[in-house]
């Protein structure tokens, strides 16, 4: 008898994505550019984070028609975002048969207390986290993959680094504790004891852990991989780079494709500085970005999620 939607099948797809780059796309054209550049999956969303920041308003799940067009356009896995706690959006995404749902702080949260009960779904979920406790709370709700949050839509890598160091540093600290000290650690991290014990014994999260938020260059991707990420999500960093598409559409398409390929190569050859030097050369204008430290509190996406 075949069993569907098991934890092993859910986490298994994330295992297949490792060492890869998952690219944010808003339509089928961008999805094709991403696939040709070597993305291991695409993430469908209504606007890339930099545009959500610029335009403001409520950011929601993408139009199902757009998602279907993207699914038709590419053969790699198609992920899509739902709002935090918005289980009806998640049900729609499951009915569309997206390959992974990202319950994402980049969209406007629908619930200020509860996340989606991800165990109720056959389709797997990835969730953001800024620290170990948050990651384990998401896993206990059924997340089959974690991404550190960073600060999406800024092109500034600093928060991604902070969050990775927080997660991986806390794991290393857990490994130094005596067994009887793990109970207090579970309280401190506000995480289930069984998961804390598993992490202390195994020295990693029980699911694949990617990095997101602010990756704009091949060097950024390498930095994340060297700090211990299993792979990277790139959002605005690709499609908000290069020449202005309104002035020179073809020039823009060339620039973004070149940058996308370079970030894919940098993620594979992350510890080979010679390869990194070659792929980083002559990529044109990276996304201009916003220094994350200048953001007012109400515009920080990383604090969404509980």
């Amino acid at each position: 008898m075949a069993e569907y939607g098991t934890l092993r099948v859910k986490t298994g797809l994330a295992e297949m994505l490792k060492g890869g780059v998952i690219m944010d796309v808003v339509d089928a054209d961008q999805a094709r550019i991403a696939e040709e550049a070597g993305a291991c999956a695409v993430m469908a969303l209504e606007r890339v984070p930099a545009d959500i920041r610029r335009d403001g308003g409520v950011a929601r799940m993408s139009d199902p028609q757009r998602i279907r067009e993207i699914q038709e356009a590419v053969s790699i896995p198609v992920m899509a975002k739902c709002r935090i706690g918005h289980f009806a959006e998640a049900q729609i995404l499951q009915a569309l048969e997206v390959d992974y749902i990202d319950e994402s702080e980049v969209l406007t949260p629908a619930d200020v207390e509860h996340h989606v009960d991800k165990w109720q779904f056959t389709v797997p979920f990835v969730c953001g986290a800024t620290n170990l406790g948050e990651a384990l709370r998401r896993i206990s709700e059924g997340a089959a993959m974690i991404r550190t949050k960073g600060e999406a839509g800024t092109g500034d890598i600093v928060n991604a680094v902070t969050h990775m160091r927080a997660v991986f540093g806390a794991i290393r600290s857990l490994q130094t504790l005596r067994g009887d000290e793990l109970h207090a650690a579970a309280k401190e991290h506000r995480a289930p004891f069984e998961l804390i014990r598993w992490v202390a014994e195994n020295g990693r999260l029980p699911v694949v852990t990617f990095t997101a938020g602010g990756i704009a260059t091949p060097a950024d991707a390498s930095l994340c991989m060297q700090l211990g990420a299993d792979g990277v999500f790139v959002g605005s960093g690709i499609f908000k780079s290069g020449r202005d598409p309104l002035d020179d559409r073809e020039g823009w398409a060339d620039d973004v494709a070149r940058r996308a390929r370079a970030i894919v190569e940098a993620t594979t050859h992350f510890d080979d500085a010679k390869v990194l030097a070659d792929v980083s050369a002559g990529l044109g204008q990276p996304m201009v970005g916003i220094s994350a430290s200048t953001l007012p509190d109400e515009e920080r996406l990383e604090v969404r999620g509980w």
């Binding site: 098991t6 092993r8 099948v9 298994g12 297949m16 994505l17 060492g19 053969s75 190569e265 594979t268």
Partner: protein, 188 residues
């Protein structure tokens, strides 16, 4: 005493770490392969699951596609690795494969595979798995799911449409290491 076999795992993208762990548990010396020169002096090569379009693109960039075509040792491909070896890609394995043939991720599943010559079934994890559409005459079917081939051998090549590296049962990897030993003797 025989030395441990030296196995390379193609580490461009995908689930390479799991293969490394299983093979090391079985006593192999394992190296990650990202560049063509890293194929030298290997007794066997594993091409893991992942995204076949990504793996093929990264392989072509550094000439690994040609290097793998020229490589003479035993090769084990799982899922995307099977696609990479098929007629439409590297052309080493005499089979045609439909990608994502069971459907999208919600149709990914676990099920028992029937092995030829072994009464104990093998638990298989099938993730957006490919399906063999056409099989050349030289291929030997070693494992079936509902009467369809999911584990096959062609001389020095071993191909699985599922992921033996995601379960604790080492039989398929052990079979591959046995093939590596046979190849070493043939070539010696």
């Amino acid at each position: 005493m025989e030395r441990s076999p030296r196995i390379g795992v193609l580490a461009l993208q995908g689930a390479f770490r799991e293969h490394v762990q299983v093979l090391e548990r079985l006593g192999a010396e394992v190296v990650e392969v990202r560049l063509p020169e890293e194929l030298d002096a290997l007794d066997g090569l594993v091409i893991p699951g992942g995204e076949s379009t990504t793996i093929m693109r990264l392989a072509r960039l550094y000439g690994l596609d040609e290097a793998i075509r020229a490589y003479q040792g035993a090769i084990f491909g799982t899922c995307a690795g099977m696609i990479v070896l098929d007629r439409d890609h590297l052309g080493l394995a005499d089979l045609e494969v439909d990608r994502n043939a069971y459907g999208r991720q919600v149709r990914s599943f676990e099920a028992d595979v029937e092995l030829s010559g072994d009464e104990r079934p093998l638990h298989g994890v099938f993730i957006r798995a490919p399906r063999i559409r056409d099989l050349g005459g030289d291929l030997e079917v070693l494992g079936e799911l509902d009467g369809e081939p999911v584990l096959v051998r062609q001389g020095r090549l071993l191909l699985a449409s599922f992921h033996p590296e995601l379960t604790d049962d080492p039989r398929v990897h052990q079979l591959f290491l046995d093939m590596v030993r046979e190849e070493q003797h043939v070539r010696a």
